[in-house]
Amino acid sequence: MNEHDQRLLRELTEQVTRAVRGDFTPGMLSRSGEAQLDALADALARLMEELAQAQEFITALSMGRLDMEPPPRNHLLSSFKQLHANLRHLTWQTQQIAAGDLNQRVDFLGEFSVAFNSLIAALREKRTAEDRLRYMNNHDSLTDLYNRSYFTEEMERIERGRRYPVSIMLADLDGLKRVNDTLGHAVGDRLIQHAAQVIRHSVRGDDVVARIGGDEFAIILPATDTATAHEVRDRIRRSEELFNLECRNYVIGISIGIATAEQGGPLAEVLRLADKRMYDDKFARKKAGGPGRREDE
């Protein structure tokens, strides 16, 4: 071993010693001229370079700097790259959860996965409870139609919108008192439910059907002129007839009034006019002896 070889070996030993202490700074290595020793020096230089890259990447990872791209083809980092990929995916999942997607699940981070999935399950339960509460707040429990409070809000929303002409239909169930008095309130409730079904099945998806009183229903028909609103009324009449043909326990009779607002503005007057026309219809049906006849009137 000549002097050059000994110097190179000394330098290599110093580098390895520094690396053991965590210092991967590459030092200048002299050449020995001996092929095998020079190859060892080259290999050690590559190792030091990869260790330095690894140290930088792991430090960034430990500080949560996930935007740092892992150095390519550095095999010392394989497991850390997998952890990096997992954490990036977890970041993406958390962003989706923040945006409202509660279907995310973690299944690659051991105990953390269990804790994370429990957290999501708790959020899902909370959302379900809130949805249920919101639903109950907006709906009538007997018929599942919207309630008066929602109907009022929806009227105000539509007043501010651009879906004119808007028609409003008021429907009043005939003979409820008679059914309640003679057959009991449970049967009266079923009559209300059936009337609600008749109305709901006759309107369109965008129409807002609400039960606004004991036997009173109101329907908002957005982007609907008078002629189209009358078509909806005719469909209700046909459904009513069909129901009465099939049901032998009681008869559904619905008095209907319609009014249309051609242009934007307050809908209160339209609602009042629809109410008046509903009573006109009830009077006419009573006079004709139809199902609109009510013994309590």
């Binding site: 394989s78 997992n86 995916h89 993406w92 690659f108």
Partner: protein
């Protein structure tokens, strides 16, 4: 199966046949090694005959065709992006293709970074110092083309075969450069 020469691809999902009827005893699964035996012998022949670049392009194109058919027949394309990704994750896992994850998704530019761990094609392969999942590149491009209606370029950035533990793919709409 399709044997006649033709210029337009005619593969359809139904060409996979009635597996339940054809394999009443052996069922619809096989060993990963058998899949890889076909994949890598076919790749070897293609590389030997046509060179690496052409062979890679052929595999990528086959993957694209497979991805299109897979998306059209196995995935719900009416879902929103997150729902679609969840569906894709679920299907790839159920079919033991791999554990698919999204690292980044820019829904405006449609630039995505995805990983597949325990990949059917490559996880556990010997080190080759290069990416090897051209078929997966095409497969993902085919899936996203059917879902978005846009051509995609997908490139594998990291691969088990290049020494990583997970395959990472970068995707962006075609015409906006190679990811």
């Amino acid at each position: 199966m399709v044997k006649k020469e033709h210029s337009l691809y005619r593969f359809e999902w139904k060409n996979l046949g009635d597996i339940a009827a054809g394999r009443p005893n052996l069922g619809d699964t096989t060993h990963v090694a058998v899949y890889r035996l076909m994949q890598y012998t076919l790749r070897d022949v293609l590389v030997t005959r046509y060179g690496l670049e052409t062979a890679s392009e052929i595999l990528r194109e086959a993957g694209r065709l497979a991805g299109s058919e897979f998306c059209g027949n196995m995935l719900d394309t009416n879902l929103d992006f997150n729902g679609f990704i969840a569906d894709l994750q679920d299907k790839l896992r159920t079919l033991n293709v791999g554990i698919f994850r999204i690292e980044k998704a820019d829904l405006e530019s449609l630039e995505l970074v995805m990983t597949i761990s325990e990949d059917l094609d490559c996880s556990g392969l010997p080190m080759l110092d290069d990416t090897i999942c051209e078929y997966d590149e095409g497969f993902l491009a085919g899936i996203f083309k059917v879902y978005t209606g846009k051509e995609f370029n997908v490139r594998e950035v990291d691969c088990w075969a290049s020494g990583e533990r997970t395959c990472r793919f970068a995707a962006k709409p075609a015409g906006e450069g190679i990811p």
